[in-house]
C-alpha cells in the first residue's frame, strides 16, 4: 500500500543550524516525490519535486530508492523557514494520478 511517513511532528533548530526533515515512503511502482510547505496564514504550496533536482530557498531533497526516503535538507536554517512541511508521493490509481501526503512536520527556527 502507498504510504508516506514523516516521523517528526515538530523540529526545532536555531538559526544558522543545519536542518533535515525526514520522509519515508512505501510504493510498489516508480514514485514521484514532492515537498509542500505551508507558511503561517498562507496556503499549502509546492516547495520542490525530486524530478526537477532543484534547490528552492536553499532546500534540497534527494530520492533514495534503496532506503525509500526523500529527506528535505538545508545547511543553514533561517527564521523565515519556520512552517509546516508535508512530504507527498504521486502514484497511479487506475488512470488517475493520486497524491498521498504525510502528516507533516512543523519546523520552528529559533533566533
Amino acid at each position: 500500500a502507498q504510504r508516506v511517513t514523516q516521523p517528526e511532528k515538530l523540529l526545532s533548530v536555531f538559526k544558522g543550524a543545519p536542518v533535515e526533515l525526514k520522509c519515508n515512503y512505501s510504493y510498489s511502482g516508480s514514485p514521484e516525490l514532492f515537498w509542500y510547505v505551508q507558511y503561517s496564514r498562507q496556503r499549502l504550496q509546492l516547495l520542490l519535486r525530486h524530478i526537477s533536482r532543484e534547490s528552492i530557498k536553499g532546500f534540497t531533497a534527494d530520492l533514495n530508492k534503496g532506503e525509500t526516503s526523500f529527506h528535505l535538507k538545508k545547511p543553514f536554517a533561517q527564521e523565515e523557514d519556520s512552517a509546516m512541511y508535508y512530504c507527498a508521493l504521486k502514484g497511479r490509481l487506475g488512470n488517475f494520478n493520486k497524491f498521498y501526503f504525510g502528516s507533516g512536520t512543523k519546523l520552528n527556527v529559533k533566533p
Binding site: 508516506v4 511532528k9 514532492f34 509542500y36 496556503r43 499549502l44 504550496q45 509546492l46 519535486r49 508535508y86 507527498a88 504521486k90 488517475f96 494520478n97 493520486k98 497524491f99 498521498y100 501526503f101 504525510g102 502528516s103 507533516g104
Partner: protein, 114 residues
Amino acid sequence: EADIYQTPRYLVIGTGKKITLECSQTMGHDKMYWYQQDPGMELHLIHYSYGVNSTEKGDLSSESTVSRIRTEHFPLTLESARPSHTSQYLCASSPMTGGNEKLFFGSGTQLSVL
C-alpha cells in the same frame, strides 16, 4: 488573476444543518480534488474529478457529496452536518497533463459543527 478560491474560510454551524463548501478555480485545470485534514494528521483525499460531470470518491469515506457541472466549480455538500464532520477541508486543482502535474491548493475551509 489565475487562482483557486475557497469560501467560506471559516464556518461554525449547528448539527443537522445542510452546508455547501465552495471551490472555484480560474486556472483552466481539468482535475479538481477535495482533501480533509484533521490537526496533526495527513491530508486524506475524499473526492476528485477528472472534468465536467466526472466525480469519484477518494480513499477516505465521507458522507459529503460533490458535483462538477462547470469546469471551474467543484462544490462540496453535507446534507446534515454532525460534530464528526468538524475538520479542515482543502480544495486543489491540477492540469491534466501527466508529466508536469502538481497540485495547487486553495486556502481551505475550517468547519466546526456544534
